[in-house]
Amino acid sequence: MTPAAIEALQNALAAEHAAVYGYGVAGAHLTGPQQAEAMSAWNDHRARRDQLAAMLAAQGAIPAAAAAAYRLPFPVTSALAAAAFTAALEDGITRAYLGLVGLAASQDQSLRTFGALAMQDAAVRAAQWLGATVAFPGLPRSAVARQSPHAAGRGTPS
């Protein structure tokens, strides 16, 4: 596995660590079906985290550790804020896995597939928290901004 692949896996792992932490914060402010959804997502992210750590360890790399604490992008003190926060978390996860998809095809095809499928899971959860879809999950606006106005940014949180 190339150094670029290791780095992309570490980035994805760091994002999963953050998601595990973030869902713990968000879950405390959610109730009913939303809390169940957060719990399910939290378990999914823990599984991905462990999977990524195992993939890295199998390559002889030391898996990145979780931070002791994380700074939240905005105060999460209500169910509404918690849902917005988890949508943002999933968007970050989608971006992290996009890095795996961007690896050179000659060496890392299976990582591309792995990343693309993980992107789908994160994008679906983001859309469910957001209650809307976005046209290009994970891609920066700059990568898709030069097309016709109707095509860009619908549903993107501002």
Binding site: G92, A96, R112, G115, A116, Q120, A151
Partner: protein, 174 residues
């Protein structure tokens, strides 16, 4: 709140900074010798054809069931955006696109060609859902061999198609 800003900065960075790999698409692609441009063009053509077919399907369903517009219009808008992005890469591999040419191509493309009349709204939704799921699977297969930046575009489109599958499920995204 002890423990230093650097240790707590990961989440903030995660939420605000796009990955380097996702930016400057054409520059990255141009510098990568991993896969042949010929493969990119062939796969782009296939992806464009598939997306036109998808748009045609949405258009046909909307014509038969105008009451579904609230649910389907946003998904059709996503699909139209996908088609434009794919066509832009095909027409403009070197960065010299003509917006008017692009607009003409995009507006001319959604040719509704319903294969058979669709009976019920439920059956139409199910057909769309199946088509989106299949399209996402095909893209994930196609992105294995193309240049990195195109792989990322295809993966993003496939991820959107996966969200469409969820949006077309019973109960939608709520």
């Amino acid at each position: 709140m002890k423990g230093g800003a650097t240790r707590r900065s990961v989440l903030a960075a995660l939420l605000t900074v796009p990955l380097l790999a996702a930016t400057g698409c054409r520059t990255v692609a141009g510098a990568t010798p991993a896969s042949s441009p010929g493969s990119d063009v062939a796969i782009l053509r296939e992806a464009i054809a598939a997306k036109k077919k998808m748009i045609g399907l949405y258009t046909a369903v909307l014509a038969a069931h105008p009451d579904l517009a609230g649910q389907l219009d946003p998904l059709l808008a996503d699909s139209t955006a996908h088609l434009a992005a794919l066509q832009r890469r095909l027409i403009n591999p070197g960065g010299t696109s003509s917006p008017s040419q692009l607009a003409r191509t995009a507006s001319a493309s959604p040719a509704p060609a319903p294969s058979a009349p669709i009976q019920t709204a439920g059956a139409a939704i199910a057909e769309l859902r199946s088509a989106e799921r299949g399209a996402a699977a095909i893209l994930v297969n196609q992105l294995r061999t193309v240049t990195p930046s195109l792989a990322q575009l295809l993966a993003s489109i496939a991820a959107c198609e996966a969200t469409h599958v969820a949006a077309l499920a019973t109960g939608g995204l709520q």
